[in-house]
């Protein structure tokens, strides 16, 4: 007896979005990265296609961060001392994209400057041929001060600029428009809010295929399910033809998981929590893997080993026959 698998017939699809530009395209990247283009829920090959596998980005900083886990310091070692070296190491670790987050202050506590931001971005662009995302430190005024010169410095490179939020998006979008970049549109776990910010950004004249949605996630065990379901609903809306939800989704499980107790604490926890290093990596990798199932197109990670683990899963999902 043959079993007929019921199939959804969708009318919409996810936008295909390309980051980075090679020399031919007016940039200096050795390769570009394309995400999106799905026509069905993740990896339901019998319903539609997933033309571009989920991309994995590694987060680096413009200077060695003060608040990162010693486990991450251990993993990256000397490379963390210099953003160029760190970018190279990330490329070697297998990242598809570098996600550079600028710090609020310099190592001696002085405010970060536009000059420094320009220099760091230039250095990272020279050190690695991967497409680049650059995010501000997360304070509206400072973000705008730093990202405008960054956008100008990297003219033509098709950076992903972040982070646009509903109270602060105009300057960043204007910079992306002026210098041909893309933007990250971040909203706090809500379908309507996500859609609203995409509309606002698009209203400024930025084409829909230059917007990436960041619907915000949580770490496994920390409100993660809520974010998961919001992403799933966004994706279903996209397939139903809602053009303001058809942007590829970026989430940052690295940022979320490395701040939870299970990753942060090495001592004084129950013995059956197991080895700290392995536990922290798995927390990041499992969170990321699960997010792939809710439709994430880009995952920003911090640990090279987690990236390796997630990559194994992605490869298996893309090509199930080879793994079976």
């Amino acid at each position: 007896m043959t079993i007929e698998i019921p199939k959804e017939k969708w009318t919409g699809s996810v936008c295909e979005v390309t980051f980075g530009a090679t020399a031919d395209e007016g940039g200096t990247r050795s390769r570009t990265l394309t995400v999106g283009g799905e026509t069905a829920m993740p990896f339901l090959h019998f319903e539609g296609v997933t033309p571009n596998p989920p991309a994995l980005a590694l987060e680096i900083r413009d200077r060695k961060p003060d608040d990162w886990s010693p486990l991450l310091h251990q993993a990256w070692g000397e490379a963390m001392e210099d953003p160029g070296e760190w970018a190279k190491a990330a490329e070697t670790a297998g990242a598809d994209m570098i996600y550079l987050a600028l710090s609020l202050t310099t190592a001696d506590g002085e405010p970060n400057t536009p000059e420094n931001a320009r220099a760091v971005v230039r250095k990272v662009l020279q050190a690695s041929g991967l497409p680049l995302a650059v995010a501000g430190p997360g304070q509206a005024e400072v973000d705008n001060q730093l990202l405008v010169p960054v956008a100008e410095e990297a003219e033509g490179e098709r950076l992903l600029l972040g982070i646009c939020e509903d109270k602060n998006y105009r300057t960043i979008v204007a910079a992306a428009l002026a210098h041909n970049h893309l933007v990250q549109s971040k909203t706090p776990m809500d379908v309507n809010l996500s859609k609203q910010l995409v509309i606002l950004i698009h209203d400024m004249g930025l084409p829909l295929e230059r917007i990436i949605m960041d619907p915000t996630t949580g770490a496994l065990g920390y409100g993660f399910e809520y974010g998961y379901s919001v992403m799933e609903r966004l994706r279903l809306a996209a397939f139903q033809g809602d053009s303001m939800t058809q942007q590829p989704m970026l989430v940052n499980p690295g940022f979320e998981t490395w701040k939870v107790k299970e990753s942060k604490v090495g001592e004084g926890v129950p013995e059956n929590w197991g080895d700290w290093d392995r536990r922290a990596q798995e927390w990041e990798a499992i969170t990321a893997t699960t997010l792939i199932h809710s439709g994430a197109d880009i995952l920003v990670l911090r640990h090279p080993e987690s990236l390796h683990r997630v990559r194994t899963v992605v490869d298996a999902l893309v090509n199930p026959a080879a793994t079976a």
Binding site: R170, V191, N192, L193, Q196, L200, D203
Partner: protein, 630 residues
């Protein structure tokens, strides 16, 4: 302490609130938030120190320098002098037209069939030595011949029965209530040797305005009508503030205040018609559930607290004497039936008055005030809900908001290139603030011209001095200081925009949830009936532009004015109307939005200009695109 400008000096214990002193002194004084320090309307000027400010949350640094303090948040610690600013006094001007247009009879009026109160002359056989029946039995026997038996005769009437019968030479006039809407024996309301005309009073106790119709029960015609601000306003501008006041301070005071307002109306009606208050034999009262509770002296606390259960939705009728109402003491006072804590008698009355019970087309009835109440349905079914829109559309909670009185900006047009506004002000005066319709109009214009984005963020990078960063964040200057009455700029701040957005989103979300609950599309609504005073001033085009009202052809919107008092009038005239209203209140399905998990989602979707789903507002999308291309 001394109060200026009236120059009253009062001795008070240390620690007394200035607001308490002002109230003790008998001066008129408003506290829209009920003394919670939220509204800033009770600001007074401290001329001589001797006070301690507990909270200054609504005052700017500039205000504090000028000596301002919130009367409800400032205690007296020594000898002091304060000035009560003139402009802060309650405005007595009413927004409703002084000479209301003639109210038509809502239906063919046959008093014999419909009216429960009848007045007529009755002839009794005079007593004699042969016919020595006592006076009461004689009257009862005569009235039994008219079908009124058994008959209740109150002691007060019995006391003057003998004299009256003899003065009337055994042919007295009687007023009888055949059967109160809540059934029972017929009741003798009045007895006189002079002819009596039966008169009724239909009342609507609004949170803001109390309205009364004086009605000739023989013809059914409205003899005259009057309206006055509800005196309770001084103890809180919205129902929640009043419930808090009733809980914390004085329940009876609120009842007393609304009775005073009704007395004022009765006096005015007497002046105009010659009918004294004691000549009124029947009263019907409509109003929201809180107003009815306060009027009846019922503690309203449970209305405010989950699960939001009122003491009564279907009050019986009570004697005027019991309620201390200044009409005939034996008059029955019927408070109309409500549906729930936040869908009260004003809505059941409104539904009856707007004719929703007679239509087959899908109809939306809304009453927008501090609370937005809405009913969706046809003659066969109705669903209702209430959403707390807040008082933003009434001008409260907005920096330069005010009621729709003289000096209020009621409409604004903004030039799409220069961003310069043209304004229309009520009365021939300099602008003082912005009223509800003005606020809707400004928001619509700011949106269409792109001064704010669809999320209501003010675009600070525009090339105009009118957009700037002010004390409360980004703002748009509607009128420069030198053109205003106050000598200060009239502005709409980002915070104001947020308040308006939340208010309109709550109302629209209410529509969405109602429609979704019964599985209809808002676009299929054939008529939108708008009641309430606010509705008379609303501009449909602007209200649609900001996403307050659904995007339907304008000819589907009808403004009905005060439907609550009209319903009260119908109930006064007709027993059937009373029964219908009971059926309406009982049959309506009430959706409690705080227990509805789709409301929040609908609310966030509506928290955008005009709405996150632009395809719900095709006409607005067109206007917006056109502006963008220009």
């Amino acid at each position: 302490m001394t109060l200026l400008p009236s120059n009253i000096t009062i001795e008070v214990p240390t620690g007394t609130l200035i607001s308490e002193v002002i109230q003790q002194s008998g001066l008129e004084f408003i506290q829209p938030c009920g003394g919670q320090g939220r509204c800033g309307r009770c600001a007074v000027i401290i001329e001589k120190n001797g006070v301690r400010r507990r909270s200054t949350i609504r005052l700017s640094a500039e205000d504090l320098d000028a000596g301002y303090a919130l009367a409800c948040q400032t205690v007296i610690e020594g000898p002091t002098t304060i000035t009560i600013p003139e402009q802060e006094r309650i405005e007595r001007r009413l927004v409703t037209a002084k000479t209301a247009r003639k109210v038509e009879l809502p239906f063919e009026y046959d008093p014999a069939a419909l009216q429960s109160v009848q007045a007529f002359q009755v002839s009794l056989p005079p007593p004699s030595l042969q016919d020595n029946l006592d006076d009461l039995s004689r009257l009862e026997k005569a009235l039994a011949d008219h079908g009124y038996t058994p008959l209740d005769i109150p002691l007060a009437t019995l006391r003057r029965l003998g004299t009256t019968l003899r003065t009337a030479e055994w042919s007295p006039w009687v007023v009888i209530e055949t059967q109160a809407p809540t059934s029972g024996p017929a009741r003798l309301i009045d007895l006189s040797s002079d002819p009596i005309r039966p008169i009724g009073l239909a009342v609507d106790i609004g949170t803001t305005t109390v309205t009364a119709f004086l009605v000739d029960l023989t013809t059914g015609q409205v003899m005259n009508s009057a309206a006055e601000y509800n005196s309770q306003i001084a103890r809180g501008e919205d129902v929640i503030s009043r419930i808090i006041y009733a809980e914390k301070t004085d329940l009876n005071e609120l009842g007393e205040l609304v009775r005073q307002t009704i007395d004022t109306l009765l006096e005015r009606l007497k002046r105009r018609t010659g009918v004294p208050p004691e000549g009124i034999h029947k009263v019907t009262v409509s109003g929201n559930t809180t107003m009815i509770h306060l009027f009846l002296g019922l503690p309203p606390s449970s209305i405010r607290l989950t699960p939001y259960i009122p003491t009564v939705n279907f009050p019986q009728s009570y004697l005027a004497a019991e309620l201390n109402l200044g009409v005939h003491p034996q008059a029955s006072v019927l408070c109309l039936p409500g549906v729930a804590s936040y869908v009260g008698a004003d809505i059941s009355a409104g539904v009856l008055a707007c004719g929703l019970t007679d239509v087959d087309e899908l109809t939306l009835f809304i009453d927008i005030g501090t609370n937005g109440e809405m009913v969706l349905g046809t003659r066969d079914w109705m669903v209702a809900c209430a959403c707390s829109a807040g008082p933003a559309f009434e001008g409260a909670g907005v920096v330069d908001g005010m009621r729709a009185t003289a000096g209020a900006i009621e409409e604004v047009w903004i030039h799409s290139e220069t961003f310069e506004p043209t304004i229309r002000v009520i009365g021939n005066v300099s602008p003082r603030g912005i009223c509800g319709s003005g606020l809707i109009s400004i928001l619509a214009e700011l949106f269409v011209t792109g001064v704010v984005d669809k999320a209501g963020n003010v675009k600070l990078d525009l090339d105009t001095p009118r957009v700037r960063r002010g004390e409360h964040g980004p703002e748009y200057v509607v009128v420069w200081a030198d053109e205003t009455e106050t000598g200060r700029d009239i502005v709409l701040t980002k915070v104001d925009v947020d308040n308006l957005m939340r208010a309109k989103a709550a109302i629209y979300a209410g529509f969405s949830v109602l429609a979704a609950n019964v599985g209809v599309d808002l676009a299929d609504v054939q008529q939108v009936l708008i009641g309430g005073a606010f509705g008379q001033y609303i501009n449909v085009e602007n209200a649609i532009k900001i996403g307050l009202l659904p995007d339907l052809p304008w000819d589907r919107f009808h403004f009905l004015g005060n439907t609550s008092v009209l319903g009260s009038y119908m109930a006064l005239l007709s027993r059937q109307a009373c029964e219908q209203m009971r059926d309406i209140a009982q049959g309506m399905t009430y959706i409690e939005l705080s227990a509805d998990n789709t409301f929040f989602e609908a609310f966030t979707a509506a928290l955008f200009l005009p709405h996150t789903e632009i395809n719900r507002f095709p006409s607005v999308a067109m206007v917006w695109e056109r502006h963008r291309q220009d």
